[in-house]
Symmetry: C2
Subunit: 210 residues, 2 copies
Amino acid sequence: MDTAQAIGERRSAHYFDPSRSIADAQLRELFDLVKLAPSGYNLQPWEFVVIRDADGKRRLRAAARDQKHVTDASAMVVVCGTLDPGRHAERVFADWVAKGYFPAETGKKMADQVRGWSAKPLEQRRVWTTRSTALAAMTLMLAAKDLGLASCPMEGFEPDKVAREFGVPSDYEVVMLIALGYELKPDLERKARRGYEEIVHIERFGARGR
Amino acid sequence: MDTAQAIGERRSAHYFDPSRSIADAQLRELFDLVKLAPSGYNLQPWEFVVIRDADGKRRLRAAARDQKHVTDASAMVVVCGTLDPGRHAERVFADWVAKGYFPAETGKKMADQVRGWSAKPLEQRRVWTTRSTALAAMTLMLAAKDLGLASCPMEGFEPDKVAREFGVPSDYEVVMLIALGYELKPDLERKARRGYEEIVHIERFGARGR
């Protein structure tokens, strides 16, 4: 599917066909695209817990305001981001060095610097991991659209309860949930978006787009 | 361009052709796609300051570690997110009501609830706005790819300085910068990504993908 079409026609789905499932091969195709998302320093903070079993979806629904589409969806994805910026630093910067981006000494310094970020206040690390992990989440929704799957991002859930139920360690942020599946019926009319003139500022905040 | 191709071939560009520019019509085409990104409750926290003038790019570069691609890019986008969840609540929920998603009374309650979030601690609101604004940022990079533009997301900059230089009010988060333009030459080999088996967990965190 054309990219502009995928972006233009993607809508958050709320009515999924509960009789349909998503196979392992589809998951692999999907996440082999998701993993290509960009991230700060290529640190790739993301992790995805894919829930397809009925019991798991039931437990997730109980932590997500009892929303019906959680159990109707073919799969629920718990999108997580590490709160430890240094977690993958050593091999990520070794890769930069191996490919000639910078010399080994610089790579070592960079890895040390990023590992130092692990001492930053939790709230800064939450913003940090949310930023790159959400880039992967959007990639996931557009890749899903391309593969014929509807999706719905959700931020209305109890993150601590979700983490406890699905074993997400305390040094990971639960960034959002994404429902994936086959749409049974379309939602109501698409909700309005703020327009170009309002969201685009030219050269300076407040100077409107032409 | 096919969506999987756009996702698969998008790479962060660092060598832009400084002689090429991006026209108003291209900006409009781009942001008319970006605005369709999903956001929590459809609250659309995002704002984009587009910098094309040489003086603006020079000032931005000074706040972004003097990175050459800031001035070489045809346009720099300062991606901002409001820190006030209630900012657009009234009309967003009026739109939900107008389209039959829920009754007027519920709409009013929802708007009141979201306006209440404006009293949450700043750090929670930073995570909130980063989450949805980054979804729009990824949409921007894939839409750009589709329109023949290279991009580069950047988080290495001084947010306070950027805000001051471009008039971003203090109740907005500067989420990231995105360089847009025409690639002069490709970067070195693509940097490695963590694989499917590592990032996908089946049913429970730590249970690896098959």
